[in-house]
Amino acid sequence: MHKTPLLDQLESGPYPSFVTDLKRLLPTKPQVNDLLGQLERSYKEKITHWKHGGIVGVLGYGSGIIGRYSDLPNEFPGLEHFHTMRINQPSGWFYTSAAIRELCDIWDQYGSGVLNMHGATGDIVFLGTRTEELEPCFQALARKGFDIGGSGSAMRSPSCCVGPARCEWSCYDTLEACYDITQEYQFELHRPSFPYKFKFKFSGCPNDCVASVARADCSVIGVWKDDIRIDQSAVKAYAGGELKPRGGGSPYAKLDIQADVVELCPTGCMSFDGSTLKIDNRNCNHCMHCINLMPQALRPGTETGATLLIGSHAPILEGAQMSWVIVPFMEMEPPYDNLKEIAGNIMEWWAENGKNRERVGELILRLGMRNFLEALGLPPVPQSIKIPRANPFFFWKDADFEAEAAGKKYYTTK
C-alpha cells in the first residue's frame, strides 16, 4: 500500500469522499493502489503525472477511448496503461439496477473498477484499463447492448434532460430525440471525420437543464408558440399563500405575485389585479420565470416544438461561445427529418470549409452568417440576433441586385 497522508485528509467532512470510496477497491484492484499513490504524488508536487495521451482504440472505431500512460510507470506499474473508455449513456441517464450490475461486472473484469458517473459530456466513463483489455471489454459491453461514445474530431455522445419522463414542462420528447439522433450518427460518432468535435444536447424547455446553450455545437431547446396555460384558481392559491413558490424549493413561504412575478417578467407582459393574472403572450419571450415560480398555476402552451441554436463551445480558440438561434421554431416529431436535414447540411458545410480544430461556431464567425444560412437554405430572421449591426460595413451580392431589379424594397413592403 502506498502511503497517502494528503489524500487521507479528504476522507473527513460531510460530503461523500472519493478517496474513501476508492480505498474500498484496494483489496481487489492493485492498480487503484497505484492510482492513489500517484495522485498523492501529484498532491505533493502540484503537478500531473500523466503523459500526453497516445492513440489507442477498439477495432474499426477511431474514437471513444482516451489513451493515458503514467510518467512514473516504474513506481506505479498499475498505471503503465490507464486508458478511459467512454460508454454512451442511455437517454436521460436512466438505469435499472440490473443494467448497473452488468456494467459493473464488465468493468470489474476488464478494468480498474473505477467509474465516472458520468463524464461532463454525458458518457459513462470507465476510468483506467490497459490497451489489450479495450477490445474484449467493448465486445462484452456490446453483447449487453451498450456501445462506445465519442472522442476526438467526431460526433460526441448526445445528451438530454429528463424531459417528458419526469418533467411537466418538456416541449418535446428529449429522450427520443436524443436516442434517435445518436442512432442516426453512429458512423460519425465512432469514426472521426470532422474538422473537430461536434456535440448535440437536448433540453425540453428554456430552463435548459443540460446546459445545452453553453456546451453543444447543436443545442435543441424546447419552446411553445401559443399561450401559457393558466389555472387562475391556482394563481389565487399562490396569492393566498396556500401554495408555496417554486414548489417549495425556496426560503420564501409566500409569493407576492406583483413583486415576484409580474415585476420580474423581463418583457413586462404580465399584469395582476389581485385575483386574475393576465399575460400578453405575443410579447412573452418564454423565459420560464413565472412558470418556475408557480408550477401549479402555469404551464407552457400546447403548440410546442424546439428552437435550434448553433455554435457553443469552451474557450479554445476564439474564446467561449454560447449557441445562438438559427431556427426559432421547428416541429420535433420522429423521425426528426427536419432536424436531420439541417444538421446534415451543417456538417457538410463545416466539413467542406472548416479548418482543423475549428468548431462550427467559429467557422460561422469566420465565414459569416450569410454564407452559413445560404448554404443551409435558411432565411435571415430577426430572432437570430439580439440586435442588428452597428457598423455600416455590409455587403451586397448579385442576388440582392437582381431581387431589387425585380422589385424588392427594403424600407417597407407596403
Binding site: L7, Q9, L10, G13, P14, Y15, P16, D21, S42, Y43, K46, T48, H49, K51, G60, G92, W93, F94, Y95, T96, S97, A98, A99, I100, R101, L115, N116, M117, A120, G128, S157, C161, P164, C167, E168, D173, L175, Y179, Q186, H190, P206, D208, A211, A214, R246, G248, G249, S250, L264, C287, M288, H289, L293, P295, Q296, A314, I316, E318, G319, A320
Partner: protein, 359 residues
C-alpha cells in the same frame, strides 16, 4: 465467417425505455406539476393523478463499482431497481411507492448519503478529471470539489439561498466542466509559457499544426533553421496549453505558478435574464492541496456576500449586474487587477462606455 463479422458495432446506447419505471411509462409526457417536499425530495404529479418521488443524493462522481452496486441494491429495496443520474452527476432514487419514502430516507441517513441539491441550494459541482486522469490539469478536480462541498455543505441540503447557485470546476482552460456559464467557476490556470523540448519536438509534433494551434500567434518556427523546432514569444503567451494539446513536446506545468482562478456570475437558464458568461473574479489563488483552504475561503466569501446582498430569486450574476461590478469587488474584498480587464477578442465590448458607474 470471420471473427470480425461477428463483432457487434454501432448499436448505440440501449433504448431508454428499457430503464423507465412503469409509472413513468404510463405518464410519459403527461406530468402536470411538481413539488419539492423538502431539500432533495421531488414529487411529480401526473394528469392522471399518479405520482413519483425522486430522492436526489450527492455523488462525488467518481464511483467504484462497489459503490455503484450499493446504489443498485438500495434501488432494488425501495425503487423496484429504478434510478437515474442527473445532468449534474447527482444520483436519484425513483420511488413509485410512497410508503417506501421514509424507510429510504432512514437508510440513506444511516449510510451517510446526503440528500439535497434541489431548489435554492448549492447542488453538485460539475467537474473534470484533474490529476486523477488528465495530462493538462493545473489543479486536481475531485479533491477541490470535496473540499469546497464540505465547506458549503449546509447549502447542499437546504433551500436558504436567494436562488439556485451552481458551481463548476475545470482543471484547465479547456474547460471540460463547461464552467464558462456558472454562478461560480473554479478554474485551474497555468502561468508559465511552455518549456520546449527542442530535441523531442521534431519527432512528436507537426510544426505547422503546432504554430497554428496558438490563439495569440505566439509560436514561430525556430529562427535557427537547422533546429527543426519552434520558439514561443513569451510576451504573447497566455498559458492556454493549446500548443501542448497539439504537441507533447511543449509542456507548461509549473508546480509553483499554477493555481486557481475564480469566475462568477454565469448562468444557463433563461429565467428572467438570458444566459450569461461567468466573469473573472479572482485571477489567482495558490494551488494548495489537499484542501485548498484559500480557494474554499474565497468561494465562501462570495457565497455569503451574495446570500446577504441578493434580492429574492436573484442569481449571482443578476445580483452583481444590479449592484455593479465595482461594488461586487468592494463587498467581496477582492482587489481589482489588470487581469480583470479583457484584452482578448471582443474586449472592447467589456469597456465602460458610459457614466454608469459608482464611486
Amino acid at each position: 465467417m470471420s471473427e470480425e463479422a461477428e463483432r457487434i458495432t454501432d448499436i448505440g446506447p440501449p433504448h431508454y425505455s428499457k430503464f423507465l419505471p412503469p409509472v413513468v411509462k404510463d405518464n410519459y409526457g403527461k406530468w402536470k406539476y411538481h413539488e419539492i417536499l423538502e431539500p432533495g425530495i421531488l414529487r411529480h404529479v401526473a394528469e392522471s393523478g399518479d405520482e413519483i418521488f425522486s430522492i436526489r443524493v450527492a455523488s462525488p462522481r467518481i464511483l467504484t463499482t462497489l459503490q455503484a452496486r450499493d446504489l443498485a441494491e438500495i434501488s432494488d429495496k425501495y425503487c423496484e431497481g429504478f434510478m437515474r443520474f442527473t445532468s449534474r452527476h447527482n444520483f436519484e432514487f425513483l420511488v413509485s411507492d410512497k410508503s417506501k419514502l421514509e424507510p429510504l430516507k432512514a437508510e440513506l441517513a444511516q449510510r451517510g448519503i446526503p440528500k439535497g441539491g434541489t431548489g435554492h441550494s448549492i447542488t453538485n459541482i460539475v467537474h473534470t478529471q484533474g490529476w486523477i486522469h488528465c495530462h493538462t490539469p493545473a489543479i486536481d478536480a475531485s479533491g477541490v470539489v470535496k473540499a469546497v462541498m464540505d465547506d458549503l455543505f449546509e447549502y447542499f441540503g437546504s433551500h436558504q439561498l436567494p436562488a439556485q447557485l451552481r458551481i463548476s470546476l475545470a482543471c484547465c482552460l479547456n474547460m471540460c466542466g463547461a464552467v464558462h456559464c456558472s454562478d461560480i467557476a473554479i478554474l485551474g490556470v497555468h502561468r508559465t509559457p511552455p518549456h520546449i523540448a527542442h530535441d523531442k519536438l521534431r519527432h512528436l509534433c507537426e510544426i505547422p499544426t503546432t504554430i497554428a494551434s496558438c490563439p495569440t500567434g505566439a509560436i514561430r518556427p525556430h529562427p535557427d533553421k537547422s533546429i527543426k523546432s519552434v520558439v514561443v514569444n513569451e510576451e504573447r503567451c497566455m498559458y492556454c496549453g493549446n500548443c501542448y494539446t497539439m504537441c507533447p513536446a511543449m509542456p507548461l506545468f509549473d508546480a509553483e505558478k499554477g493555481g486557481v482562478a475564480l469566475l462568477v456570475g454565469g448562468k444557463v437558464s433563461n429565467a428572467v435574464n438570458p444566459p450569461m458568461f461567468s466573469r473573472l473574479a479572482v485571477p489567482y489563488i495558490p494551488n494548495n492541496p489537499p484542501r485548498w483552504p484559500e480557494t474554499v475561503q474565497a468561494i465562501r466569501k462570495i457565497v455569503i456576500k451574495y446570500a446577504e446582498g441578493a434580492n429574492k430569486w436573484e442569481r449571482v450574476g443578476e445580483w452583481i449586474q444590479r449592484i455593479g461590478w465595482e461594488k461586487f469587488f468592494e463587498v467581496c474584498d477582492i482587489p481589482f487587477t489588470f487581469q480583470h480587464i479583457d484584452d482578448y477578442r471582443w474586449a472592447y465590448d467589456t469597456y465602460r462606455t458610459s457614466m454608469h458607474f459608482k464611486f
